[in-house]
Amino acid sequence: MRNDQNVSTRIVTPPLLTVSPSPHIKKGITTRGIMIDVVIALLPALVWSIYVFGFRSLSVVLVSVASCVIFEALFELIIRKPITVFDFSAVVSGVLLGFNMPVTVPLWIPIVGGAFAMIIVKGIFGGIGKNIVNPILAARVFLFSWTDIINNFTAPMSKISALSFSVDSADIVASATPLSSMKEGMLPDISLVDMVIGTKSGCIGEISGLLIAVGGIYLLARKVITWHIPVAYIGTVMLVTFLFPMAGDDAVQFMLYQTFSGGLILGAIFMATDYVTSPITETGKLIFGVGCGLLTVFIRYFGGYPEGVSFAILIMNLLVGYIDKFTKPKRFGGVTKDAK
């Protein structure tokens, strides 16, 4: 195939005249604006994580952001496409990628993860809007290659050095995450209050269900996301864990523990709702949320891993095409089969 594009544009300047089909209502929403909103929504959780785990959370997240931005720019440079880092989608990816790691990871992990997410999951498929699966979750699953490193959780309030490239294993206070306790059939050692507020061990961004929910409410208010996916997702998980508790005496208690542990709330609000990889229609979103919820619970109960959110969302991402097809709305003005 001959490539007629011998001109390489570096930075896109907005055209003076935009030609497009109707409707011609402009609302002032830009990708960048949406992304900034998402970052703002993520800030409370980040601050909390700094409080619990120390400033290393910040350094991991910053390295992750830098890695995503740099690799996206590099890739677009190499394949001679316009550089799109200024729409901040890479920044959001970086923050979320950092949120998905334990604080004890050596700093090369976010770098490798960022490269994988931006180049292989997003870039090769065509850049923003073209990826099939959520790049952050795919990168997180890729990082499972280094299983012992990526599953190295430390207890809250342990002192981890902020700037060192790799964390000294002596500083790590090993502790089982709530999910791994429940996988073995026992309720975690932590009070429910701690679970909700977030004084527990886990990945950087996922420990504080409460603050993530606060961010979610902000996003709802700003109309960045709709309620369908998070409510369907979390609701399904709550329902199933309530009906089939696997540990503890009280079904409600078990349900609450399951809901606030792991990456469920972070995944439901920030990852599953990614525009590119979730269905368009509202019915589709509900189906998507329910599917994610069911898969999460199945993997948590029967699968080899204690946490199922990443895999559940990735699998449902692959089905979004079919969901969209099934929930296509009727075309306006189209004739129904049994029109009288």
Binding site: M1, R2, N3, V112, I120, I124, F142, F144, S145, W146, T147, I149
Partner: protein
């Protein structure tokens, strides 16, 4: 067949018509056995041996076997050779036989062998068929070795069993898994296709409006 033709055949088998990277044949085995370079070499050489032998026999018998049963006969001949290779490996190279395991009998359904038998050996004389088998087999082996090299190097930190990186390297074990196989193969195919397209552009520019295709 003179030397120039043989060379062009090799170029075809290695690059422009590479069975794995261009024709996308034999991918099951390519993905499964390329966890180490040794395995890839073993597999590639086994397939080459079967390919040459079956091409020769099928070419010899091409006028005798009636149309209707040609596929059945080819399969019988190919599986005969594969079984011979399997028995020889079990006897003389048991370690390779063990690590390749199930994939040696699966050579029978490796598309490359049947495709070359059907497309080439059944229509040409013995010597060209043998050479075609050799070139395609070599192309397959090279493809497998390249894939295995990347996977083994970054996935286990070793090459041919020798640790290459120091202790500081934490191998990306995802590359050893099937998922990593697909990802690596996809990336390599992308690079090869890009290179081939560039080459075609250059050839096209060179040929001008001449209709000859270098292949």
């Amino acid at each position: 067949m003179n030397g120039k033709k043989i060379l062009s055949q090799f170029k075809k088998g290695l690059l422009t018509r590479n069975p794995v990277f261009v024709q996308l044949l034999g991918m099951c085995s390519a993905l499964a056995v390329t966890t180490t370079v040794v395995n890839a070499l073993g597999m590639g050489l086994s397939v080459t041996a079967v390919l040459i032998c079956s091409n020769v026999i099928i070419s010899l018998l091409r006028n005798i076997i009636p149309r209707q049963i040609r596929i059945a006969s080819y399969i019988v001949i190919i599986s005969g050779f594969v079984t011979v290779v399997e028995m020889l490996l079990e006897a003389f190279a048991p370690t390779i036989s063990k690590s390749l395991g199930l994939f040696i009998p699966l050579i029978v359904v490796n598309c490359i062998i049947l495709a070359r038998a059907e497309a080439y050996a059944s229509k040409h004389e013995v010597l060209p068929s043998a050479i075609d088998g050799l070139t395609m087999g070599v192309g397959y082996t090279v493809a497998l070795v390249v894939l295995a090299f990347v996977r083994e190097l970054f996935g286990s930190g070793t090459v041919l069993g020798f640790t290459v990186f120091g202790d500081w390297y934490k191998p990306a074990s995802m590359l050893i898994s099937p998922a990593g196989a697909f990802i690596t193969l996809g990336c390599i195919i992308a690079v090869v296709q890009k290179f081939l397209m560039k080459k075609e552009d250059r050839d096209f520019k060179k040929e001008g409006s001449e209709g000859k295709l270098n292949g």
